[in-house]
Structures are given as C-alpha cells and as structure tokens.
Symmetry: C2
Subunit: 124 residues, 2 copies
DNA sequence: TTCTATAGTTCATATGTTGCGAACTATTGG
DNA sequence: CCAATAGTTCGCAACATATGAACTATAGAA
C-alpha cells in the first residue's frame, strides 16, 4: 500500500486548490473539516449533502484533497484522521481559503432562500 | 451556430468559478482580461504562458469562462470582444475573485524566485 | 497465531471530460 | 460571388472520474 503523499507547502498550487475545491462533495468535506475543531475520519462523510457516497469514491476524494495540500491525513489505529492545513495555506496564499469558504457560505444561504421561494410558489 | 450563453448572476456557482479558474490557461486568460482595461479578442491569446494554444482549444476555454459566468463575450464585426464580469461577481461573492487573482500573483512571484534560484544553482 | 470485524485503499471498467485538427459558420471587403 | 479573417463545432483520441469488487492494514478476541 503506497504511503500517503502530503506536498510540501511550496509545492501547493492555486490551480490544485481550485480544482480540488471545484467538486461539490470535496468542497463540502473540506468545509466540515475546516469548521469542526478536531479531526474527522473518512467514514464521517459516507453521507453528505443528502447523498450516499461509496467508500471507494470517498477515499479518492480524500486523496485529491490530500495531494492538493488541503488536508493532512494520519493513521490512528484502524482509522484515518484528517485535519485541514488551513493555517499553512494561509501563510502561502493569504485570504484565499477564507474567501472560498465565505463564497460557499453565501451560496448555501442563497440556495436555501431560493428553495424556500420555490416551495412557497408551489404551495401558493 | 448556437447563441452565446451568459448565466444570470444568481446562477453563477462557486464550484463553476473554481473549476473554470483551476485550468492554468483559463486562469492566465482571465488574469489578463482582469488586468487589461478594455476588451480583448480570442486571438489575443493564441500565445500565452510561452505556449501556443490552438484556436479550437481557445474557443473552448472562452466558452468555459463564459458559461461559468466569469466573462461576457460580444460579437463586434468579425471578432469577439471579451470582458470580465468581475464587478457583478464581486456583488454576489465579495472578495472571491480578488483573493484568487492575488493567490495567482503570489504563485507567479514565488515561481520566478524558484526559477532564479535553480538557474543560480546550475550556474554556480 | 489465527479468526473476525472495521476502516480505507487499490483495481478494473464504464462513463464523462478535454484537447486539437479538420471542417464549418459568420462577417467584412473587394 | 469570392476571398480573407475570426471563431465555432465535429469527431476522435487521450485523460479523468465514479464505483463495485477485491484487497491491505490494524485491533481485539479466542
């Protein structure tokens, strides 16, 4: 089993970060990791955004986030603990991650608003 | 020939923006458009980042940027004029585009530094 | 050690996306 | 109408992604 790859901070690229976070599932995972104080395992995300994600797919998504330099994964016994590398990335690309997280929050808020409006329209 | 599609501002998604800008060529195009005051045609980018991009590929890249909501394209005679939709996006996702542009700038500066260091190492 | 359970990874493959040359469309000016 | 210029679309090869099946790694029990 190949060892986990964590790029060094200067090998992290903007394109890599944007690509990793341009997938809705990965963005959701990353947001949860960024918000939650502690570390989270892979399996914590088998359900995300009202969808079931197969384990193999999740594993690939975690690999993508890891190799983009967004998260750090460490084995602890039988599970894998994942944490963000937010503060490192903040050093290299100040403001980038916060801006993306904020934009996602704006979009989620706006999406909820539209959903309510659509429901009202249907009901009324 | 199908008409050009420009999503309305509320249909622009974070994922779409990140995906569009996660490609190095598109990111370079967008940066030039953002920096240049006026509008630019497609063909202004046949050479970018020391690479020749085929016209058909460029056309696809412009379409990707357009349909992600990042640029507006308008026909003027035989050419196409492209402008960014920065200010609109700034309304919907404040700070997102500036943060990405800044991160790209940081990366370009850092890349140049590493290149010089590599050159020195080879020379010395 | 061997057996079992759990958490993730890797493989094979089907499906989706991208890059680019060739052929095409749209516009302008003889 | 013809030619030139600027972009677009088509078709296909190359690359990427999602997922079930098979596998590896670790812990605990017997």
């Amino acid at each position: 089993m190949r060892p986990l790859i964590h790029p060094s901070i200067e090998d992290i690229s903007v394109e890599g970060i944007l690509h990793a976070l341009s997938d809705p599932v990965r963005a959701a995972i990353y947001m949860e990791l960024a918000v939650s104080s502690g570390a989270s395992t892979c399996s914590d995300f088998l359900q995300i955004k009202e969808r079931n994600i197969p384990k193999s797919t999740l594993s690939q998504h975690f690999r993508a986030l890891r190799e983009a330099g967004l998260i750090r994964s460490e084995r602890q016994g039988v599970e894998m603990f994942n944490t963000t590398r937010c503060s490192e990335i903040e050093q290299r690309f100040p403001g980038l991650i916060p801006a993306i997280l904020k934009a996602h929050a704006v979009q989620a808020a706006h999406g909820a608003k539209r959903k309510r409006a659509a429901g009202k329209a249907k009901a009324g």
